[in-house]
């Protein structure tokens, strides 16, 4: 009896979970659906969910008007470059903090995180001016460095948490077995930390991919990534919802596919330590 009630309750809860999940996903679904409508259907009231004339026209127009491939390439370079550079800097930092901590390690970690509390717009002017002085406005290199610096605290924190999970005795065993510092890091630590490094890379790649404040403010043409591509279809040119939706769908598609295939790593990355 108790079992029957609990399974009915479970059914109820999973229905609730599905509804909440669909509600959260709805804007994305709506964007994708709208991208297949004509402009007049896109703003029709009441809107039709699936019973409309499906068309690829928006995608054709968007393709004609903008160079999608260039935006995509810029996004890949900026998100990938900033993530890789960040990990290269963060791995030694996190190692030092996890395995050779000092009395100040916790303070340094908190201080790094505190930089995330500053609204980005607060430093827009200085950074904008620095970019002009250095002649790197609208360049990919500037965005790689800036996005790397913005995500660095998160990368260090995540890696630090992973490294803390690796038992120190295993590293000591490697030392006793005659491993040099280099061998210890290369053959023992890194292989053990790979799941952690992978989820850190993935999450930060996604964060950098979707970053819109700096990418919009510091680029114009040559370094503009997909965020700028979407923005170029927003209001100033009028209400072209269907084309805006098509552009948005094209912008999120790569990251959505990447995320889909790596959900396991991502979930592990976000819940690591919580359930162990």
């Amino acid at each position: 009896m108790a079992r029957a009630v609990s399974s009915r309750a479970r059914l109820g809860w999973s229905a609730v979970a599905w509804v909440i999940g669909l509600l959260i996903f709805f804007p994305i679904l709506w964007t994708i659906l709208t991208s297949f409508k004509t402009e007049s259907e896109a703003i029709a009231s009441p809107p039709s969910l699936v019973f409309f004339d499906w068309t690829l026209e928006n995608y054709e127009v968007v393709q004609e008007r903008s160079n999608y491939a260039r935006f995509l390439w810029n996004s890949i370079v900026i998100a990938g470059g900033s993530t890789l550079l960040g990990v290269l800097i963060a791995v030694p930092a996190a190692w030092a903090m996890a395995f050779q901590p000092t009395r100040r390690t916790k303070d340094i970690l908190l201080w790094m995180l505190s930089t995330k509390m500053l609204p980005a717009v607060g430093v827009l002017y200085p950074i904008y001016l620095i970019c002009i002085r250095l002649g790197v406005l609208d360049s990919k290199i500037a965005l790689v460095v800036i996005l790397m610096l913005i995500n660095l605290p998160i990368i260090v924190w995540m890696l630090y948490t992973y490294f803390r999970e690796i038992p120190g005795e295993i590293l000591e065993a490697a030392r006793m077995d005659g491993a040099s510092l280099r061998s210890e890091i290369l053959y023992v630590l890194t292989p053990m930390a790979i799941p952690g490094i992978a989820s850190t890379v993935l999450l930060n790649f996604i964060l950098a991919w979707n970053e819109a404040f700096w990418t919009l403010n510091l680029t114009a043409v040559s370094a503009a990534p997909l965020t700028a591509f979407i923005a170029s279809y927003s209001s100033p040119e009028g209400l072209f919802f269907a084309k805006l939706s098509a552009a948005s769908t094209m912008a999120i598609a790569p990251i959505l596919i990447l995320g889909w295939f790596s959900q396991k790593q991502l979930v592990r990355g976000l819940t690591f330590g919580a359930v162990k």
């Binding site: 038992p167 005795e169 295993i170 000591e172 065993a173 490697a174 030392r175 006793m176 077995d177 005659g178 491993a179 040099s180 061998s183 053959y187 023992v188 292989p191 053990m192």
Partner: protein, 335 residues
Amino acid sequence: MGQITLNQITKSFGETQVIPPLDLRIEEGEFVVFVGPSGCGKSTLLRLIAGLEDVSSGHIEIDGRDVTDVPPAQRGLAMVFQSYALYPHMSVRKNIAFPLRMAGMDEAEQKKRVERAATVLNLTDYLDRRPGQLSGGQRQRVAIGRAIVREPAAFLFDEPLSNLDAALRHGMRMEIGELHQSLATTMIYVTHDQVEAMTMADKIVVLRAGVIEQVGSPLELYREPRNLFVAGFIGSPTMNLLTGPEAKKHDATTIGVRPEHIEAGDPDASPWSGTVGISEHLGSDTFLHVHGTGLAETITVRADGEVPLRHGDRVGLTPHPDRIHRFDAKGLRIA
């Protein structure tokens, strides 16, 4: 090879000195056990010898070479950890071969040595498994395998059996003992379990608060404990310690008698008598916990396995006169 000398070594963590100046000489081929209650500094001492901790002052010599500032990798020692500390991402074969690979040994020789170690340790069937697929005892054997392939100057064991269940612990104790017989390499073994110390050691070093209380063979420590701490620590069940008038009779502040050196008998014809509190029948032995008449302490007696005494029975106790240990007011043995 494998003679280790500790010369006036100390270790402090911040303000706290955990090892005051300490001297110790470990001879080649000896099986030395560091034993003491938790927090006595025995693991720290082992880690100082290993090089995993730096000494605060003093010198460590291995085979006459000063290794005080030599990193652990170059001291030629192998260590077996309490948690086994196997590399989880490597197969058993790769785990055992790791120190050889680090030494740059050629593959054929590596393979030969790994297989020889696996045969000795009954691991041949498990060479391609990962540590996660092994039982606790098997993991411990892999850890030992990883240590023996290097042919080190000495083996260091840090409470290697404390994660195993009682039956397995007994088996592994025998295996380590046999390994020592066949390799004849110096072994330093840390444990808080005095039974392990007594059964395995050539030489026991009893530590308390970083200080060596006594060094000697198991039987020396059993027969002539230098002070009350060693007397209470070595032997199971622990030695009965009596103070007051009974001790006065022997010109001592405290006297000690081991449970196996007290005879249970007729209550009216024995120097001590009392009533049985708890009797533990183990089959081979019976441990009687006797509340003595006129004695402050409960006395434990090791009696014959089939002695018919139970709770509430009156019993007489006779200590063997030549087995009474006497201690002075400072707790030191009176010869």
